[in-house]
Structures are given as structure tokens and as C-alpha cells.
């Protein structure tokens, strides 16, 4: 078995493009779910809006990339308003239903034959819409070390992606420790009490939904640019639930949780896959038990098992406080 290769693949994944995408998606969810208690099950919709805004506007409408990015942010704000206006006055479960449906509607529209000309149907859009971005790349040669290995384009995405994550996280940190953040946490605990103290709960929930949605669209930008293509089925419900997994793995309502959760999630996924693949290839695991073609599925089973163990033995996540979690059981 080639352990150097396994380590290289695993560490590259741990700091790689997917980790950045899911960290950003989970940072948005942390604002919604972790701090405000909003059950947004449609985070994939915000990613899709971000990704498709970039791809469609550049490829089909010849927008410059920077304008397409701005439009993507604007579109995610519009989506948040559409979702929030009818549901945020209602009980929390209504938002969950509406968001999960909205994300599916967005995916189905993207796949539909009707808008094939602009959105590319089920094939999505592939093109050089990231050209403006990759033209700026100073690391054309990529990186090749025993632990980290990226090609030129990936390295540029990784560097700018982490810079983006750090900036977003810093702003989040400032926001959640402010009196504004305190109102959000109070809403999570009991919104009627917050109303009785003179705070406009609806307004705060809307602001939280918009901010978390914008961060979700950032994840969509990275998704689209890193692959130079968008495909509707990448933005299904599985993406939302992986983002929740990442968030809860790190510990909800902790600023650094999404990053830690995402790194661990992608490290484990790639590490287990590479281990299995090599073990099967070298004959340590007999062919009748696990075939080479089954490794892809089995890694998800094993990661799922690992996550179940984590929830049993450390339900508060990596950064969470068990004492705080116990308080959830209302006296």
C-alpha cells in the first residue's frame, strides 16, 4: 500500500475545493440554524442560485465575471426574501417545508427543457466562464509536495477560497458577538419572549436568512468556478444534508465549527476511500467481500457509521459544549 499517496490525497482533500464549498455552505447554515434556529433545508437552492448566476450570465448573456458575481449575490437576496416573506411569521416547521421545496423547484427549473437555451437542461453549462478569474492565477504550476498536491487552477481556487472563508468567518464572528447576534440567539431560544421585550423578531429572522443565503451563494460561486461547469443534479437535497452534517460535526452555533466539520468530513471521506481502494487492490480485502467498484458506496456507509458514533459519544460536535446541549431538554 502506498501510504504517502493516501496521505497526499487525504490532506489535499481536507484543505481542498470541496472542503471550502461545504465550509461556506455550513457557515450560512450556522447563521440560520445554529444562531437563529431557522430550519433551512434548502441551502442547496442558495448554492444553485449562486452557481447558475455566474455560469448563465457569463456564458449566455456575456456579463463580465464581476458583474455576474454581484448579480449572484442579489439573486440570493431575492431568494431569501421570497422564502422568508410568507413563512417567517409562521412556526419554524413551515420554513423547513418551504425551503426544501424551493430548492427542488430551483433544481427542476434548471433541468427543464424549456430553459435549455440558457440553463443547459440536465447537462448544465460547461464553458470558460471562469476565464477572468483564472487569468489572475499567479500559481500556474500548481503544487506538488508529499502532503499536498493541486494543479494550477485548483491551487488558485484553494488559495482564494480559503481567503474568502477567513473573511466571511471574521464578519460572522463580529456579528454573532454583537447585540445583534444576541437577539438572534434569543430568538432561537424563544421568539415570543424576544417580542415581549420590544424586538422586531420578523426583521431579525429575515436578516439572518439573507446573510446566511448570501454566504450560501458564495459556496455556489466556488462550486461553479472550480469546475468551470454547473450541473443541476449537484444541487440536490443531499448537498443540503451534507452541509448540515458538516455543521453538526463541528458543533452548531460555534463560529469555527463549519471549517472544522468540513475538513474532518472530507478528510475521512477521501482517506477511507483511498485506504479501501488500496487494500482491495493489494488483496488485503478479498474480492468477494468488497469489489473495487463498491468502494465508492462503502466509504459513505463507513463515514455514516463514524458520524453515528460521534453523535452517540460526542453529540455536541467537536467545538460544542455538552452542558449547553443538555439545556435543550426544557425543564
Amino acid at each position: 500500500m502506498d501510504f504517502i499517496f493516501i496521505a497526499q490525497q487525504s490532506f489535499s482533500a481536507a484543505l481542498g475545493v470541496n472542503t471550502i464549498i461545504f465550509a461556506l455552505a455550513a457557515i450560512g447554515l450556522n447563521m440560520h440554524f445554529g444562531y437563529t434556529g431557522l430550519l433551512n433545508f434548502g441551502q442547496a437552492g442558495f448554492l444553485a442560485v449562486g452557481a447558475y448566476s455566474v455560469a448563465t450570465l457569463v456564458v449566455s448573456f456575456n456579463f463580465p465575471l464581476w458583474a455576474a458575481l454581484l448579480a449572484g449575490i442579489l439573486n440570493s437576496v431575492i431568494l431569501a426574501l421570497l422564502l422568508g416573506l410568507p413563512t417567517l411569521r409562521l412556526r419554524a416547521d413551515y420554513l423547513a417545508i418551504v425551503t426544501i421545496a424551493a430548492a427542488e423547484i430551483i433544481r427542476q427549473i434548471a433541468r427543464s427543457a424549456t430553459f435549455n437555451k440558457y440553463l443547459g437542461g440536465s447537462d448544465g453549462i460547461t464553458g470558460k466562464f471562469g476565464k477572468d478569474f483564472f487569468d489572475l492565477n499567479p500559481f500556474k504550476d500548481g503544487l506538488d509536495t508529499p502532503f499536498l498536491r493541486y494543479n494550477g487552477n485548483d491551487l488558485w481556487v484553494v488559495v482564494t477560497g480559503w481567503a474568502l472563508v477567513i473573511v466571511v468567518l471574521f464578519v460572522m464572528w463580529l456579528l454573532v458577538r454583537s447585540p445583534w447576534g444576541r437577539v438572534l440567539k434569543a430568538i432561537r431560544e424563544d421568539e415570543e419572549a424576544v417580542r415581549s421585550l420590544g424586538k422586531n423578531v420578523y426583521l431579525y429572522k429575515m436578516q439572518s436568512l439573507i446573510i446566511g443565503g448570501i454566504v450560501g451563494s458564495f459556496a455556489g460561486f466556488v462550486y461553479a468556478l472550480s469546475r468551470q461547469s454547473v450541473q443541476p443534479d449537484n444541487y440536490g437535497t443531499a448537498l443540503t444534508f451534507f452541509a448540515y452534517t458538516v455543521l453538526i460535526l463541528g458543533g452548531a452555533a460555534r463560529v469555527f465549527a463549519p471549517i472544522a466539520g468540513s475538513i474532518i468530513f472530507w478528510f475521512l471521506l477521501v482517506f477511507i476511500e483511498q485506504m479501501l481502494r488500496q487494500a482491495v487492490g493489494a488483496g488485503y480485502i478479498p474480492e468477494w467481500l468488497i469489489g473495487v467498484n463498491q468502494v465508492g458506496q462503502i466509504r459513505f456507509m463507513l463515514v455514516g457509521l463514524g458520524l453515528m458514533m460521534l453523535m452517540i459519544f460526542r453529540p455536541q460536535g467537536i467545538f460544542g459544549d455538552r452542558k449547553e446541549l443538555a439545556l435543550d431538554a426544557r425543564a
Binding site: 456579528l175 420590544g198 424586538k199
Partner: protein
């Protein structure tokens, strides 16, 4: 209100103001802070509240009593904007506030507590208090990320919170999660938190429910202090001893209607009240049902 001289407490002033009033339902008061007219709330076929006229005297402690299901809490919810009426209107300080959303009602100086205490569990005690401070600059999303704009205000809010926590004997719990408090302490916290809003009218929904006898005495003292500090208090309660002890005026509801009002000693002898509510047990403490 004139400031009390050394010998006259606010209690004396309130009692003097209410002294000559005929104890009949809907009677007008010399200086009402709340005036309600024809307030009707129906749940399907059931008329939960049907109050034709009611005035609450400023600066006094008024108790709202009645058997379970009389519509007391519903009436509270209506007045504070937490529920919508089918008919009727009411005013606070002469300003019509029917239809006003609850957060605006609170900002006008009419703050309530809840029957089932709403401590914000995963916030610390001090954060529960600071949250309630009014007009906070740092609560605007545009200023939240710029701490230098709101740090001074936050310090002032913290100082005021600590002062109130000291008064309510919760200062030792300052940095504990609110969930770690006992039921009675949560009641105290909720009352202290309401005071952070600097209300004119404090509305307490069953402040004594689930509070042990030792803490009850101190809660009673705190409620009396509210009046001495110039606030008006309206509270719902089942505990008759408490009602007798601290209220200047008692309003009795039964089946959504106000059946009697007057000073506690007179109301408790009222035939309508005994029939509607007290029954044979009017001399003993009633059970503290949560209704």
C-alpha cells in the same frame, strides 16, 4: 403622579385615588392608563373574552382573577398584541394601540411576562438582561460588526443589568445559563428582565405559579416595589392570599366577562364573585392550577 412625600407611599396615593369609586364592573377611574372597549375574542363557537368596558388605574396594583378558562390570559394576550381581537379597541396612555404588534406595544412601555416562564435558556443570565435594554445601536445589522459604535452603550446596559440582578438577588448567577436557574429564580429573572425595558405598565401572568413559599415573599416585595417606583402593575393570579396582600384593586373575570371589580376586601365578599368563582372555598387558598 405627584412624587410621594415622606409619609405618603405610592400605595396610599393609589388607595386614596380608588377610594370613592363604586365597585361595579366597568366603572371609570380617575387616572386610567388603559381603557378598553367592547373587546371580543372568539375561538370558533366559544367567546373567550367579551369585555364591554374596563379601565386600569395608573400607579396602582390591579389583580385580574377568575376561575380557569375565564379568559384572563387571553385578555392579556390581546392587550399586549400577542393575539388578535375579533372586535373592540383599547388605548394605552390615551393612544389607541389595538392592532399594534407586540414589539411596538413593548416599546411604548407596556411589558408583560408569561405564565410559563420564558427564560432564554442557552443565554447567560446577564445576556438575558442585556438583551432587554432598549434602543441598542448594536442591534442594527449595519452597526453590529463595528463594536466601537456600541461599546459604551453595552457597558451602560451591563451596569444597569448588574444593578437589577443585585436587587433581585441573582447577581451570583450572572454568568450561568438561564436554564441552570430554579423555577422561582426564572420568575425573578423574567421580572428583572422586563424592568430593563423601563416600562410604565408591567403585566405579570401568574407570577407566583410554581414558586416556593420562601421566594414568594420576596417576589411580593418586588412587586410592591414596582408600584413604589412609579410603575403600574396588572397581574393575573390564582393565589388568593397574594391577591389580598398586595392588590389595590381586583377585577374578576368569569367566562370571558368581567363580573365584578373593586377593592380586594369588598370583591371577595361579592355574591357574584363567590358564585362565579370562589364557591365554598373562598376562605382557603385555592389550588394553583395552570389554566
Amino acid at each position: 403622579m405627584p412624587a410621594p412625600s415622606q409619609n405618603t407611599s405610592r400605595r396610599d396615593i393609589a388607595l386614596a385615588a380608588l377610594a370613592g369609586i363604586t365597585p361595579t364592573p366597568g366603572v371609570s377611574k380617575p387616572d386610567p392608563i388603559i381603557v378598553a372597549d367592547h373587546v371580543v375574542r372568539k375561538f370558533g363557537g366559544l367567546t373567550a373574552v367579551n369585555v364591554s368596558h374596563l379601565e386600569i388605574q395608573r400607579g396602582a396594583i390591579t389583580a385580574l382573577i377568575g376561575p380557569n378558562g375565564a379568559g384572563k390570559t387571553t385578555f392579556f394576550n390581546l392587550l399586549t398584541g400577542f393575539d388578535q381581537v375579533d372586535e373592540g379597541s383599547w388605548s394605552f396612555n390615551g393612544v389607541k394601540i389595538s392592532g399594534t404588534p407586540p414589539h411596538k406595544v413593548a416599546r411604548m412601555g407596556m411589558v408583560r411576562t408569561f405564565q410559563l416562564t420564558k427564560a432564554l435558556y442557552r443565554l447567560t443570565v446577564i445576556d438575558n438582561m442585556r438583551l432587554a435594554a432598549t434602543k441598542q445601536k448594536g442591534e442594527s445589522i449595519l452597526r453590529a460588526a463595528l463594536p466601537f459604535l456600541w461599546n459604551d452603550q453595552e457597558k451602560a446596559a451591563t451596569a444597569r443589568s448588574e444593578e437589577l440582578l443585585t436587587r433581585f438577588k441573582l447577581i451570583d448567577k450572572r454568568d450561568d445559563f438561564a436554564a441552570a436557574l430554579s423555577g422561582g429564580q426564572r420568575k425573578l429573572l423574567e421580572m428583572a428582565r422586563a424592568l430593563m425595558v423601563e416600562p410604565e405598565l408591567v403585566m405579570l401572568d401568574e407570577p407566583m405559579a410554581g414558586v416556593n413559599p420562601a421566594l414568594k415573599q420576596s417576589l411580593l416585595g418586588h412587586i410592591k416595589d414596582l408600584r413604589e417606583d412609579g410603575m403600574t402593575v396588572l397581574f393575573v393570579e390564582h393565589d388568593m392570599d397574594m391577591v389580598r396582600d398586595i392588590s389595590d384593586w381586583v377585577i374578576v373575570m368569569a367566562q370571558g366577562v368581567i363580573v365584578a371589580e373593586g377593592p380586594p376586601n369588598i370583591v371577595m365578599r361579592d355574591k357574584a364573585v363567590i358564585d362565579a368563582y370562589l364557591g365554598a372555598h373562598h376562605d382557603s387558598t385555592l389550588e394553583q392550577d395552570r389554566g
